[in-house]
């Protein structure tokens, strides 16, 4: 509210303003049109999906084809959403993609990672079954402690536990990586001073406002299975600043929420530029 | 090449299927048993021999020379010097190291580099660069080459008209420009042709076997072969075998020596032996890498006794086996002769 009020105060030229508003209105109208079209497509898709789920007869599909020109595309889109939903459900109940290889002498496990509903990298492990379980090939980066995980979780007897722990590590890692990517994309004023391949350490340079000293924010992710930092630390020439109630709040915000979201909130609050 | 020709000697141009095992010929100093009558040579000038062993030679074949006389080498020396000087004046870029220099050519006979009476004596050509002063210590050898015929096929040599001398193998070492000049002078003078002498798979395999066969007398240090496989980018495979193991394999694939009649002619080596030897090496490789070397091309063979590449570069490092190596190369060069 405060921000809006302030912005209203600054109105330079009335005429220019009218034009600007007109353009804005036009754009909004266009957007409405687009949204309507989109909505309709979604409606059709929904219909298609329900009919698909009911395993509709061919006749109905034929009917659909007459209705719209893009029916084929729509069909495909519907099928696609259906499949992604299935896949998501599969992962939700804790499923891994496992297939047999080399005539049953081995298996290949895929561990998919996602963060905030976005699918990220998929990692694979090829595992020999005999004489005992052994990872023969994988594409997991070397900084994920695969060897110690196999020992800790006892690969031989608790394969499932091993996969869950590994998945946990991988999801946390890709999640942190994604957060870093988002920070770089969304927060142009924030400078990433330091990070490492494991994304377990992040040093950010924050600008409070022009002319004021910069704040060096260090985030440590000592728990490698988590997307949230274990320690947040501020450094500033203005020694008082980190202890101010505002920044105390920022600190707890950063510890509780993913860094890109926390920074967004700090920005809207006006704590950083 | 004619497929219908019925004159056997002229159509069948392929390497001998068997050859004598190389014997060490101490061709420089040691006197030899007079009973080996067809080794007409007695001594090769050690200086010449050292020169032959020193460098790597680029090989070419030469068709028979018309009216070449071993007695007129002095005059050839003068004529070739003059020819090079003339070409230089015409702007032929024969500068060596940018220095203004005169080229002095000398022809000489390398006595004793023959195996049969039909072989013409080897001719050595050296080009030295001097600094204007005609005779000086500062003269450096800038180019050398030789023409030879060792154990040339007597049928072929005898079938040549009287005025032709056959020295089919030409080796050169030094600036390419000078090689071209010398070749063009020979072409003009003796109505002959030069062409590059590539060494095909069989020839290189023969060399590998012949050198390995020498191992007990003179260590080969290693047997190194280089193959290239026709993939993109090309894959080069260097196969280096321990000398003892190479020799063991070689003796295991040789036919039972009892069958051979061990006369003074020595043990003969059969092409079958060579093929079995190569097959053995290839199958050992295949067992490990499941990759078939037969799909590729043998590009180079080398041992401590010498090395040879597909493109026709040869180095002979050991004087004892120089004649058997040159015999094989002479044979290769003779295939290129017109019939």
């Amino acid at each position: 509210m405060e921000i809006r009020a302030r912005s209203r105060k600054v109105q330079p030229h009335q005429r220019g303003r009218v034009k600007q508003l007109e353009a804005e209105a036009e754009e909004l109208r266009l957007q409405r049109k687009r949204l309507k079209a989109e909505n309709q497509t979604l409606e059709t898709l929904k219909k298609l999906r329900t009919s698909m789920n009911k395993q509709c007869t061919d006749e109905e599909v034929m009917q659909m084809e007459e209705d719209s020109e893009d029916s084929q595309l729509l069909q495909l889109m519907a099928r696609h959403t259906q499949l992604t939903d299935l896949l998501q459900a599969h992962h939700l109940i804790g499923g891994y993609d496992i297939i047999k290889t080399r005539q049953g002498k081995g298996v290949c496990v895929s561990v998919a990672t996602n963060y905030e509903g976005v699918y990220l990298d998929t990692y694979n492990l090829e595992i020999d079954l005999k004489p005992k379980l052994r990872i023969s090939r994988h594409n997991i980066p070397p900084f994920i402690p695969l060897n110690s995980l196999t020992e800790q979780c006892n690969l031989q007897s608790h394969f499932r536990v091993f996969l869950d722990t590994l998945s946990c590590h991988l999801n946390a890692f890709t999640g942190r990586k994604q957060q870093l990517k988002l920070v770089k994309e969304q927060q142009k004023s924030v400078e990433v001073m330091e990070s490492n391949v494991l994304c377990s350490l992040l040093v950010l340079m924050l600008t409070v406002s022009k002319g004021k000293p910069l704040v060096l924010c260090t985030l440590e992710y000592a728990d490698h299975t988590s997307c949230l930092p274990t320690r947040v630390h501020f450094e500033c020439e203005d020694k008082q600043l980190p202890d101010s109630p505002e920044w105390k709040k920022n600190c707890s915000l950063l510890i509780k929420t993913p860094v890109h979201k926390a920074l967004m909130t700090m920005k809207t609050m006006g704590h950083i530029v | 090449r004619s497929c219908l020709g019925l004159t056997p000697a002229l159509t069948a141009r392929r390497l001998s299927k068997s050859r004598k095992a190389p014997k060490s010929h101490y061709i420089t100093v040691r006197q030899r048993q007079p009973l080996l009558m067809f080794f007409s040579h007695e001594k090769v000038n050690p200086e010449h021999l050292a020169l032959l062993l020193k460098s790597e030679w680029k090989l070419s074949y030469v068709t028979p020379l018309y009216q070449f006389r071993h007695t007129q080498l002095k005059s050839y020396s003068r004529q070739l010097s003059a020819f090079i000087a003339a070409e230089k004046q015409q702007g032929f870029a024969v500068e060596v190291d940018g220095s203004q220099s005169n080229f002095r050519v000398s022809f000489s006979v390398v006595q004793g580099m023959t195996e049969t009476e039909d072989d013409a004596e080897t001719v050595l050509i050296q080009v030295r660069a001097g600094f204007l002063r005609p005779i000086s210590e500062a003269q450096r050898s800038v180019w050398s080459g030789w023409l030879t015929c060792v154990n040339g096929n007597s049928d072929y040599l005898c079938s040549l008209p009287k005025d032709f001398i056959c020295l089919p193998l030409f080796g050169s070492s030094g600036s390419e420009v000078l090689t071209t000049l010398v070749q063009s002078w020979f072409q003009k003078m003796f109505d002959c042709c030069f062409g590059p002498l590539e060494m095909n798979n069989t020839c290189l395999q023969w060399l590998a076997a012949l050198w390995t066969n020498c191992h007990p007398e003179s260590s080969i240090q290693h047997l190194k072969m280089i193959w290239t496989l026709p993939v993109v980018p090309p894959l080069q495979i260097t196969y280096t075998v321990n000398p003892k193991d190479a020799w063991k394999l070689w003796s295991s694939v040789r036919k039972d020596p009892c069958e051979e009649n061990k006369e003074e002619e020595g043990v003969s080596i059969d092409i079958e032996d060579v093929m079995r030897f190569m097959q053995g090496l290839k199958s050992h490789f295949y067992r490990h890498f499941r990759l078939d070397l037969s799909a590729g091309c043998l590009k180079q063979v080398s041992t401590a006794l010498g090395s040879a590449t597909f493109s026709g570069r040869v180095k002979i490092s050991n004087s004892q086996y120089i004649l058997s190596t040159l015999t094989l190369l002479t044979e290769c060069a003779l295939f290129k002769m017109p019939v």
Binding site: - | C3, L4, G5, L6, P8, A9, T11, A12, R13, R14, L15, S16, K17, S18, N153, D155, Y156, E198, N200, N201, T202, C203, P230, I271, D292, S294, A295, G296, C297, F310, E331, L334, F335
Partner: protein
């Protein structure tokens, strides 16, 4: 072991079917493209790396009228592979329905022995031997033309000529002295 048989299937109308066998799969595609250019008859080309052919294609594979073995002379493997494939052909094919094509014969790395071996093989099986230039489009076209001539006869599309008759005229012969060492 499944033999490829020349007469187990019915011929198609105005159709000739050719099988190109080449272990290196270098020339066969180019050659196939040149062969199907033919307009007078429908030419079907089947490509294979080696014989035997996979069983699952058995049913819809047309009758093969001519089998061509393409041998790259610079590669020993190429020759060995062709030699090994031969035993999967019904003897009936050797009555004029097999042809050998060699490439890279002019390459300096080719040992003369290998060409001799190919010629002996072709001669012993009473097959023609065609030399092909694979580097230039013209070379490929002319090789394709020569193969087409044989193919049309083998497919019975040329009146008054049979494969057996043609093969008697075109089969490879070996000079009598091929086994003698040089000059001796």
């Amino acid at each position: 072991m499944s033999l490829l048989k020349p007469f187990s299937k019915l011929p198609g109308l105005n159709t000739a079917n050719i099988l190109l066998v080449e272990s290196e799969e270098q020339l066969q595609q180019k050659l196939a493209e040149a062969l199907v250019e033919e307009t007078a008859v429908t030419v079907n080309v089947r490509l294979a790396k080696s014989l035997p052919l996979p069983m699952e294609n058995e049913e819809h594979r047309p009758r093969i009228d001519l089998v061509v073995f393409i041998i790259n002379l610079t590669s020993e493997l190429s020759f060995q592979s062709a030699e090994a494939s031969l035993k999967y052909l019904d003897p009936g094919y050797f009555l004029g329905k097999v042809c050998f094509t060699v490439t890279k014969a002019r390459n300096a790395s080719v040992p003369t022995e290998r060409l001799d071996a190919v010629r002996k093989l072709a001669a012993s099986l009473h097959c023609p031997l065609v030399f092909a230039e694979d580097q230039t489009p013209d070379g490929v076209t002319s090789a394709a033309e020569r193969l087409l001539t044989i193919l049309k006869v083998a497919a019975g599309l040329v009146p008054m000529a049979t494969a057996l008759y043609l093969s008697n005229l075109t089969r490879c012969t070996v000079p009598p002295d091929i086994d003698q060492p040089s000059f001796d």
